[in-house]
Assembly symmetry: none
Homo-oligomer: 228 residues x 2
DNA sequence: TTAGATGTGTCAATTTGATGTCATGGCAGC
DNA sequence: GCTGCCATGACATCAAATTGACACATCTAA
């Protein structure tokens, strides 16, 4: 899922530079030149991360950070402060306001990227792996493995993804196009026949466990995973 | 039961800031400005956790950490190092000395809290048994050594740390990034390929004992420690 | 102090395995 | 039968993981 980053910075040059870098990393970037613009944007779209300039015309970055921390919807949104070197001494005040990290200007795009990723990762709780059981097959998400009658089924990455999708969307037909979108992703474009080949590979992997029949062909339409 | 935290830090401003936060979380905080003060306090009250500044007047934080690891009463007390960014390169030396986690200054109070809770949670079961056995390997935490079929497995510090993490988190896939976060620490920036190299070194060390197969590659995802 | 040993992170070369596409042949339904 | 749709095997290509080599830093022992 695409992460939304809001940058609050009065210098267009810096917004531009950051913008190019983040978009190429797959982030959706929103821009604000001052605190009130930022508030307006936040009201509509709560971002996943805020890059906040310390020096802003009008309300200061520090002040804005404090307000964001007091507001329920933005309380847990991580903030990275952009500060000039001369402002280093005032960092402690930022920490008190609950800022998550600092980047000192001038900063390299590379450094900013790393910090953004680190902060976002930190904010994410460790996901619990679930167990999916259906038609004699068991997917253990935590270990990323599949079992049939106690034995491990050896699958390639794409086979795993395909089976995972089917087992979480059983008893329903999907066209090749739909499978492409859901398994490969929206932007990937493939030949329709390629889906057939992957179905074939999945069936082949399931064959030794007599589970290949679970993946069924619906002639003229597509494929279906069914225990019936 | 109220947990006792000792902070060893020469800057009063930071002690103050941390103090306010921890007290509101229900911790009992003791403060020391240098290593000798710390030793005095520890003699009277063994704390449940130590926050240790890397740069201290007199005995350095790293030196103190090593001494604490060698002393029986404090051997199992978790240590979180407080380091400045410029000291990042010395992270590995700290890990080698048995430091549990790092927090890089400037840090947010929120982050420190999370780290403290994570470390305390992790330390809980460790205080009971210092032996970890899995897949024919035995880790003796007290002596910081590993055995396979009675013979000692010779590991470098990073190999030990990697194996320790795997054996306490078996049967689960981790991406290279997750491994970096959990083995090197959240703020360590490494090339992803570096993880591969360490995996290889660990496997090489385990090879003479036929245990290299326990560290498994999950193509397109990461690595997994598994006895199956 | 110096010299050698050890440990670590990065890179490039190589190997290994997965993936997408095509061509062919089979099968179902009309 | 014919026609369209699907299954299958082969193959070229691409991506991912392994591996060896190296630079640099630190530790150890003279």
């Amino acid at each position: 899922m695409q992460k939304e980053v809001l940058i609050v910075e009065d210098e267009p040059a810096i917004r531009e530079m950051v913008g190019v870098a983040l978009k190429s990393d797959g982030f959706l970037l929103r821009e604000a030149a001052d605190a009130s613009e930022a508030q307006t944007i936040i009201r509509d779209h709560t971002p996943d991360l805020i890059l906040l300039d310390w020096m802003l015309p009008g309300t200061s970055g520090l002040q804005l950070a404090k307000e964001l921390r007091d507001d329920e919807p933005t309380r847990h949104v991580p903030i990275i402060m952009l500060t000039a070197r001369s402002e280093e001494h005032s960092r402690v005040r930022g920490l008190e306001a609950g800022v998550d990290d600092y980047v000192t200007k001038p900063f390299s795009v590379r450094e900013l990227r790393l910090r953004i990723k680190a902060v976002l990762r930190r904010a994410q709780p460790e996901s619990e792996g679930t167990r999916i059981e259906l038609g004699g097959l068991v997917i253990d998400e935590a270990s990323h493995r599949v079992f049939a009658t106690g034995r491990e089924v050896l699958l390639g990455p794409m086979e795993y993804r395909t089976l995972h999708f089917f087992m979480t969307h059983a008893e329903r037909v999907y066209t090749r196009r739909q499978l492409m979108d859901r398994i490969w992703g929206q932007d990937a474009y493939l030949e329709e026949r390629t889906v057939d080949v992957h179905i074939r590979r999945l069936r082949k992997a399931l064959l030794p466990y007599r589970c290949d029949g679970l993946v069924q062909t619906v002639r003229g339409t597509g494929y279906r995973f069914s225990t019936m």
